[in-house]
């Protein structure tokens, strides 16, 4: 859920990468909430899968969205 300091190669994150990581972490936190109505839970999980792919493309470490 925390924003990583470096990418998988150990490089510090650029400003763009930091922003992507923050958005992804924020979605992760949202998905973990137990009080989401079905439409919100489903939409947030959908979005989390999309931001996971952006994290993956940028070599940013993150957990599997299915494990959240």
């Amino acid at each position: 859920m925390s924003v990583p300091d470096t990418d998988l190669l150990g490089n510090p994150l650029s400003e763009l990468e930091q922003e992507v990581a923050r958005v992804h972490a924020s979605l992760e936190a949202l998905v973990r909430r137990p009080d989401l109505p079905p439409c919100v839970a489903s939409g947030a999980r959908h979005a989390l899968a999309a931001t996971w792919q952006v994290m993956n493309d940028l070599d940013l470490p993150c957990s599997q969205p299915e494990d959240v």
């Binding site: 137990p34 009080d35 989401l36 109505p37 079905p38 439409c39 839970a41 489903s42 939409g43």
Partner: protein, 443 residues
């Protein structure tokens, strides 16, 4: 959070708030359509409607109707999509079409990435209400072709997290086997095709009522809300049958049947405004009165839809007709027919839906067709039926009763009934066309 409602906030919103929400969305839609779509800008300008002048649902009636003919004409004048598009073609990610009336071009639609999110969202209202959950295995028995059909429902189920099984390239027999082999819990098909699948299962010795399937979700034909057809599907599958209805012009469904099954479908009132009008005068008709549905859609961005005359006949009743707690109004009996599908036979109005409801009350009938011809200058209607080969009941056993039932329900109009050889009548995967009106063909 567990909930019987997909969107508990809006599905239980008090009616007054729901109407305020519709007005707020309508203002946004009018502003968007005026700014982005040449087609709507011209019509709204001519009628003097701007977002600023919309303050209540009564203002909706100042917006001119949109008809399918106008849409088709716009496409013909400015191929391929007419001047309806509110966003550049480059923003679209998918193209679909639906067949036009005879001899005309198809109606073509484009949808953006966001539109497809909305399309699947509307389906989710219906699938959640029918009890589909992430643990379900959902089988889509349709061809995945250029017709928009169940595409949105497929995405809806992926969104829900259900296991989706597409079957675009399968034969009917292959589909039935896979439904049994994969422990499918939910099957999506047209009502006609759901019956065809059941017939194929019976021929293969597959026990559908003993299978894992507990929900059959139908769409694409009014038959899903004909009680006799629904009951037949439920008996043959040993599952609950839930109806939904939408149209290519909207890209998705606009009504669904909830688990309380009140004998009709809830309108998705937070994504649409559904009016019911007298098709002749255009005047609104109240609750409980039959009329034509006119739809305004808040979701589709590529092609805004304002006051589209659907030609569907409906009867709207208040939300509290259903005990499920939703505040969405209900179309009693679903889509009750089409404004233009009434047959006039020797002075009597005959609706194919009414014939279907009678035919489907005979368990031994497998398939049927309504044949209309002119014989010696007199209109003759013949209901041709195929008997189930394994029912143990012959055509001679039911012929008289069927003919009497048809007559009694049609002002004593005489109709012919005839047996067709088993397997000789057409079968349909998508929209069934059971009326062969040879009078029109010859005209």
């Amino acid at each position: 959070m567990t909930s019987d409602y997909w969107n508990p906030k809006n599905e239980t919103l008090p009616r007054a708030d729901l109407e305020r929400l519709q007005v707020a969305k309508l203002k946004r839609l009018v502003a968007f359509a005026s700014e982005r779509s040449d087609f709507h800008r011209r019509k709204l300008t001519e009628s003097g409607v701007t977002a600023e002048t919309v303050s209540s649902l009564d203002d909706l009636r100042r917006i001119p109707f949109t008809t399918r003919d106008e849409w088709m004409d716009a496409q013909s004048e400015q191929p391929m999509f007419g001047n309806l598009l509110a966003r550049p073609r480059e923003e679209a990610i998918r193209y679909h079409l639906t067949s036009g009336t005879s001899g005309r071009n198809p109606l073509r639609v484009l949808d953006s990435r966001k539109d497809w999110q909305w399309i699947s969202e509307c389906w989710a209202y219906g699938f959640w209400a029918a009890g589909v959950r992430p643990t379900d295995t959902v089988f889509f028995a349709f061809s995945y072709g250029s017709f928009i059909g169940f595409w949105g429902a497929h995405y809806c189920c992926e969104r829900l997290g259900s296991l989706v099984i597409p079957s675009g390239n399968m034969t009917t027999d292959m589909r039935v086997r896979q439904i049994a082999d994969m422990d499918v819990t939910t099957v999506c098909a047209t009502p006609t095709y759901a019956l065809r699948l059941a017939q194929a299962a019976s021929e293969q010795g597959i026990d559908l009522p003993g299978s894992s399937v507990d929900k059959v979700i139908v769409s694409g034909e009014p038959a899903g809300s004909i009680p006799e057809t629904k009951a037949l599907i439920e008996r043959q599958w040993g599952a609950k049958c839930f109806d939904t209805a939408g149209m290519t012009e909207l890209g998705t469904i606009c009504m669904f049947e909830c688990s309380h099954q009140p004998g009709g479908m809830h309108v998705i009132d937070d994504h649409y405004i559904e009016e019911v009008i007298n098709p002749e005068t255009g005047d609104p008709v109240g609750y409980g009165k039959r009329g034509e549905r006119v739809v305004t859609s808040f979701g589709r961005g590529m092609i805004p839809v304002l006051r589209y005359k659907t030609r569907d006949l409906v009867v709207k009743v208040p939300h509290d007709t259903c005990s499920c707690g939703r505040t969405f109004d209900v179309y009693e009996g679903g889509i009750q027919g089409r404004v233009d599908d009434m047959l006039l036979i020797r002075g009597t109005n005959v609706y194919p839906r009414a014939i279907e409801s009678i035919v489907r009350s005979f368990d031994s009938i497998d398939e049927f067709q309504i044949l209309v011809e002119t014989v010696n200058n007199v209109d003759e209607l013949t209901v041709r039926v195929e008997m189930k080969p394994d029912s143990g009941i012959s055509f001679a056993d039911i012929c008289g009763e069927l003919q009497e039932d048809l007559k009694e329900h049609h002002e004593m109009l005489r109709m012919n009934v005839a047996e067709a050889e088993h397997g000789s009548l057409p079968r349909f995967e998508l929209k069934a066309k059971r009326v062969a009106d040879n009078r029109r063909t010859k005209a």
